[in-house]
């Protein structure tokens, strides 16, 4: 069988698996976020934490909840790393240096999971479990909560309440992420992923580090986090031992972002609204996959930085999926991808992580883009734009524009400054245009909360640790605040009835406008930078 056919079968298998779970899982998530009953465990959590689960918050308080929760998350994770020597299972891996600890704390709380450290020598099992695994769950649950608040903004009318952040957070964690992660951690174990509390095993006279991999691997993919338990991430045979685990991990990355479009359609009472979003996400995902795959199949050194057991299709599929969501796990070294293939992974991030994007973040990002698309359509026909029965006035469009523009602003300023700093060239692993791509990729990854890297770049200097940390925080929280503000002003409106002048948002016209907006915004913003990096390299 040809490599192409084998790859197509893998993609087919993946699509079938997602199609099977799409309805039941999407509707299950809708019930989780709309139900009024609390489970016994949840009631215990609320009692202990003195949260009133039946009160609801205005958008400002919801946002304060997100920020407050994230701040304590960063502080606790920073302290856990700095105090590692006091924790069990540290295996002599001492206190994590302040720069690394700062960067990593922000990285994992913002769902970025950028790694400026070598896990095998830096992070003991306690920090991995109590710090990193926990934030793998919670940062994912925060993203889903914000997405649900935005959906409620469209669903509700004439209210200033968006739901209760603590309830959304707890339910997302306990009812969605925890059971699915547990189930798939066991599946991964059964397929050969390692689960050990030892520090390492002896292989032919050398020590290879081990870890409790399976539990973290499952949530790392499911929560679109991506921080490797081991340095080589999902390229490491202990994390991803065979072609089956590879496919399961890709499925896990996609399952929540894809099924959330069903959740959205169910919650707004029109499933076609969800299908159209999924159609746009899927089309762009497939288009970039085709580019990466073709580029890698025709590369000069197609196997450099790839694992033989995944082959080119399995590597291209993973690389595309991890960057089109905000995951950032890798099963091949993206730095060694071809100019065009690496450019494809970069482009996925520059789309703003919405094809289909991270857990929750993908849904709210594409909804914000839908607001922008309808605004552009409204300008063309000279009408006040509407989306899902809500008028998109000055407040709404301003909030959407801020949410969309935060990432490019932060990323381009960061890479621009980095490119002219004297120390930067010595941090690069490859000369010329590819070196610039390493810088662009780093800041795109941080600002989009992706976390993958053109890993050759050395980012351990104080400048990189600090500036990338700041990019991650701004790239996460500016859009979240803008999205919640948007949700607040949408919820306050009364729904306008559908009229002859309403542009339908379930058909191909809207789909092309939305897809076009995603591509256009990215193209207008990033073509100059891309031309100097991956495009220049691909033309060499």
């Amino acid at each position: 069988m040809s490599d192409t056919m084998a790859g197509l079968l893998q993609v087919g298998l993946l699509v079938v698996a997602l199609a099977v779970v799409y309805r039941p899982f999407g509707d299950y998530m809708a019930r989780v976020y709309t139900g009024s009953k609390h489970s016994r465990v949840e009631r215990a959590v609320y009692r202990f934490t003195r949260v009133d689960p039946d009160s609801e918050q205005r958008w400002g308080n919801y946002a304060l909840g997100v920020l407050g929760f994230s701040v304590v998350g960063v502080v606790l994770l920073y302290l856990l790393q700095r105090l590692q020597t006091l924790l069990p299972f540290n295996y002599g891996r001492g206190a994590v240096a302040p720069g690394v600890a700062f960067n990593t704390a922000i990285s994992f709380v913002t769902n970025t999971n950028w790694q400026s450290y070598v896990p095998e020598t830096t992070m003991g099992h306690s920090v991995q479990l109590l710090g990193l695994t926990v934030q793998n769950f919670l940062s994912g649950a925060v993203g889903m909560a914000v997405a649900m608040a935005l959906v409620r903004g469209f669903v509700r009318q004439r209210t200033d309440r968006l739901g209760n952040f603590w309830v959304d957070l707890t339910r997302g964690t306990i009812r969605i992420l925890l059971p699915v992660a547990f189930l798939f951690a066991i599946v991964l174990v059964a397929l050969g992923v390692v689960m050990s509390f030892k520090s390492g095993v002896s292989v032919d006279g050398q020590t290879v580090a081990t870890a409790p991999v399976a539990s973290q691997e499952a949530i790392k993919e499911l929560g679109t986090n991506g921080g490797g338990v081991l340095n080589a991430n999902s390229a490491h045979p202990f994390e991803n031992p065979n072609a089956w685990t590879n496919l399961v991990e890709i499925f896990l990355i996609l399952v929540i972002p894809v099924c959330l479009t069903r959740t959205f359609g169910t919650m707004v009472g029109n499933r076609k609204q969800g299908h159209v979003l999924l159609g746009v996400m899927g089309a762009l995902w497939a288009a970039v996959l085709a580019v990466i795959w073709a580029a890698e199949a025709h590369g000069l050194r197609p196997l450099e930085g790839k694992e033989l057991r995944f082959g080119i299709p399995g590597s291209a599929l993973f690389a595309n999926t991890t960057t089109a969501t905000s995951t950032g796990a890798i099963n091949a070294q993206h730095d060694s991808l071809t100019g065009l293939g690496g450019g494809g992974t970069l482009l996925n991030m520059l789309f703003g992580e919405m094809t289909p994007g991270g857990v929750g973040t993908g849904l709210y990002s594409i909804l914000v883009m839908a607001v922008i698309a309808m605004f552009l359509a409204g300008l063309m026909v000279g009408r006040t734009p509407e989306y899902l029965g809500k008028k998109l006035g000055k407040r709404e469009v301003t909030a959407a524009a801020i949410a969309i523009l935060a990432m490019p602003t932060v990323m381009l300023i960061g890479s621009g400054v980095a490119a002219v700093l004297p120390g930067t060239t010595s941090a690069l692993n490859n000369p010329g245009a590819h070196g610039l791509s390493e810088i662009l990729y780093a800041y795109a990854s941080a600002s989009n909360n992706n976390g993958s890297a053109f890993g050759g770049i050395t980012v351990t200097s104080d400048w990189f640790q600090a500036s990338l940390g700041v990019c991650m925080a701004l790239g996460r929280f500016i859009p979240i605040i803008a999205v919640l503000a948007l949700a607040g002003s949408l919820a306050a409106q009364r729904k306008v009835p559908v009229s002859a002048g309403t542009l339908p948002t379930t058909g191909p016209v809207f789909a092309s406008m939305l897809g076009g907006s995603v591509v256009l915004v990215a193209a207008l913003t990033f073509v100059p930078a891309l031309a100097l990096g991956p495009i220049a390299e691909a033309l060499q």
Binding site: M5, F197, A232, Q333, H434
Partner: protein
């Protein structure tokens, strides 16, 4: 200010509770289930064949080149337009052709490129094939026996359709050790 403090304290309390659930109970439960007999024969990875590390001497099958410096796993991160690295690859090709006594164009791609993890245990059947005569010579084992060990360490295409058959060098070298 009062609201900020209130939200932050609520955040801290809920963080601690969820840390217990997702950071302690969850991994412990996964670990406990992973110990169920028959679920995973080797969750501790004792004597694992999942990874390959460089060995001394030449009486073995070589895995792919590794750019990792253990204990850190990883790849070269070199781009295909990096001319210095192109020279490195050409040099590897020459050395391997010389070592195995074959023409340079018979050295397959996986033999000269570094894997993503630096621990990839697998090589292509083509790379295994050119190593067979040397291994037979240096171990004193008959050619036919080495060939049969190679086929024993060869797994068919994963899932029946992904990629190519793989030869696991760690498994193969363990077989060699017991055959000597």
């Amino acid at each position: 200010m009062n609201t900020v403090l209130k939200q932050t304290l609520a955040g801290l309390r809920i963080l601690l509770v969820l840390t217990v659930i997702t950071g302690i109970l969850y991994p412990t439960a996964v670990w406990a289930v992973s110990r169920l007999p028959g679920l995973h024969p080797n969750a501790e990875a004792t004597n694992t064949t999942l990874v390959a590390v460089p060995r001394d001497g030449t009486g073995w099958f070589f895995p792919r080149p590794s750019a990792a410096t253990l204990p850190a796993s990883g790849g070269s991160n070199k781009s295909e337009v990096n001319t210095d690295y192109t020279a490195t690859i050409a040099q590897r090709r020459t050395e391997i052709a010389h070592r195995e006594g074959v023409a340079e164009d018979q050295v397959p791609e996986d033999a000269v490129t570094a894997s993503a993890s630096g621990l990839d245990p697998d090589i292509s059947p083509a790379y295994a094939a050119i190593q067979i005569p040397r291994v037979a010579r240096e171990t004193g084992l008959p050619l036919a026996q080495v060939r049969s060990l190679v086929s024993e360490a060869t797994t068919p295409r994963p899932l029946g359709f992904i990629g190519e058959p793989l030869v696991n060098t760690t498994h193969l070298n363990h077989l060699l050790t017991t055959s000597r």
